[in-house]
């Protein structure tokens, strides 16, 4: 897949002290064999293909001492935070959130399927956000935590690009964060929807978010040194 543009840092030099790497929903249920998406009979090869690239971006961020944020979509065991229409749609789709599957109850906090995949396990001190919605900002304290750390720029990775990644970038923009999507570190179940998301983000000259890749990111955080 071609990266459409590599137009970042777009406005100002990267200040890694004010930049966070955000890794969205790299959970067993979305991107591992036996997880929810796999059990729905859908193809997880797209979402698995970005594990390696995200690992590289994560290693660069950790080496540079950047703030790292991991998110997990999930609901409380009593499903009090699960909208009825969200439950109904997923049940009608084949396997409902909260129902028992091969990796425990689907997208329920604490279950095996809800865990972040072992390749990207958060380290102590990294921010972990539990979110009941698609946007990482909905019903979470992510904005407060970022403001407290004086973060102004979000480098976004994870899955899926058309869903939770797009919601998080849109909400990040709305709150005044400069958002950059690493196109080689995000994917959707359907490639068409992934490519459409990149095209949509290019509207109005990248108003909602810019598009880059892990090589440019690695170069930027290592102070303009050699790319990977």
């Amino acid at each position: 897949m071609a990266v459409l543009t590599s137009s970042w840092p777009s406005l100002r030099p990267l200040d890694i002290r004010r930049t966070a790497l955000v890794i969205i929903d790299m959970q067993v249920d979305f991107c591992a064999p036996g997880g929810w998406v796999d059990q729905l009979g859908e193809d997880v090869s797209n979402t698995r293909a970005v594990i390696g690239p995200i690992s590289e971006a994560l290693a660069a961020a950790r080496a540079a001492g950047m703030v790292v944020v991991h998110t997990r979509e999930g609901h409380k065991a009593d499903l009090a935070d699960l909208p009825l229409n969200k439950q109904w749609r997923t049940r009608a789709h084949g396997l409902g959130i909260g129902d028992m599957g091969a990796s425990g109850r689907i997208l329920v906090q604490g279950e095996p399927g809800w865990q972040i995949i072992p390749e990207l396990t958060p380290l102590p001190g990294e921010i972990v956000i539990d979110k009941p919605g698609k946007s990482s900002f909905h019903a979470t304290d992510l904005e407060d935590q970022l403001r407290a750390l004086e973060i102004t720029c979000l480098v976004v990775t994870g899955v899926t690009s058309d869903c939770c990644v797009q919601s998080t970038i849109r909400d990040g923009f709305e709150r005044g964060f400069e958002c950059v999507l690493l196109a080689d570190c995000t994917a959707a179940v359907e490639t068409d929807n992934h490519l459409a998301t990149l095209d949509i983000l290019s509207a109005f000259g990248g108003r909602w978010g810019k598009i880059s890749d892990r090589f440019a990111f690695q170069q930027a955080v290592s102070g303009g040194g050699k790319g990977a």
């Binding site: 009825l84 109904w88 009608a92 849109r170 923009f173 929807n193 459409a196």
Partner: protein, 202 residues
């Protein structure tokens, strides 16, 4: 036409990917029409008169049935105005084809989401609204961003495709396709005709 009694459900709307709403319950007591970005500047920039005329018909249809009307428009705060945002004041006005009923609720927002830092959610919740008919401009901007937030909040959303226009036709189509993915990740999509049919007594 006499509006149905509040609480009496209309027929389900033939929508994609499921007959909307999910629980089959919608009426003037629990449903609002949310019209977004129907400002003349957006209509001109997107060449979206056709969608605006459909939105106008949707507005008339909803009003006739006693469905509450919420209209949102962007009004940039002076400090947020980028140089390319400077347009004549008249262009910020409502689209020329739209005439709002007196009891329409008007929401003013600064960015690309009608919920962010506005009273929209409180207003909808206090009115007992659970279902939203959504239309406006652009499909892949204000409309979809607002629908995503509404969906996270638990509102049951139906985007009216022909009463929306995107920044390009391809983005319009793709954004609506993404809306319906996974049996309706962000709700359902239908045409104005399907809403009209559901509201027409059989």
């Amino acid at each position: 036409m006499v509006p149905p009694e509040p609480g009496l459900s209309y027929k389900s709307v033939a929508a994609n990917p499921y007959a909307w709403p999910f629980d089959g319950q919608w009426s003037s007591a629990d449903t609002a029409l949310l019209l977004l970005g129907l400002q003349q500047c957006a209509v001109d920039a997107l060449q979206a008169r056709e969608a605006v005329l459909a939105a106008r018909d949707l507005l008339l249809l909803a009003h006739e049935h006693g469905i509450a009307i919420y209209v949102a428009r962007r009004e940039a705060r002076p400090e947020k105005l980028a140089s390319d945002d400077h347009v004549a004041p008249a262009a910020w006005q409502w689209a020329r084809d739209i005439a709002l009923p007196e009891d329409a609720h008007i929401i003013t927002h600064a960015g690309d989401n009608a919920f962010y830092q506005t009273g929209l959610e409180n207003s909808l919740r206090s009115a007992g609204i659970r279902n939203l008919l959504i239309a406006g401009l652009p499909t892949d901007g204000l409309v979809h961003a607002t629908q995503r937030t509404a969906n996270d909040m638990g509102f049951e959303c139906l985007a009216i495709a022909d009463a929306c226009a995107g920044t390009t036709p391809a983005r319009h189509a793709a954004q609506l396709r993404i809306t319906t993915f996974g049996n309706g990740l962000f709700g359902a999509v239908a045409d104005l005709a399907a809403v009209r049919a559901a509201l027409t007594p059989s």
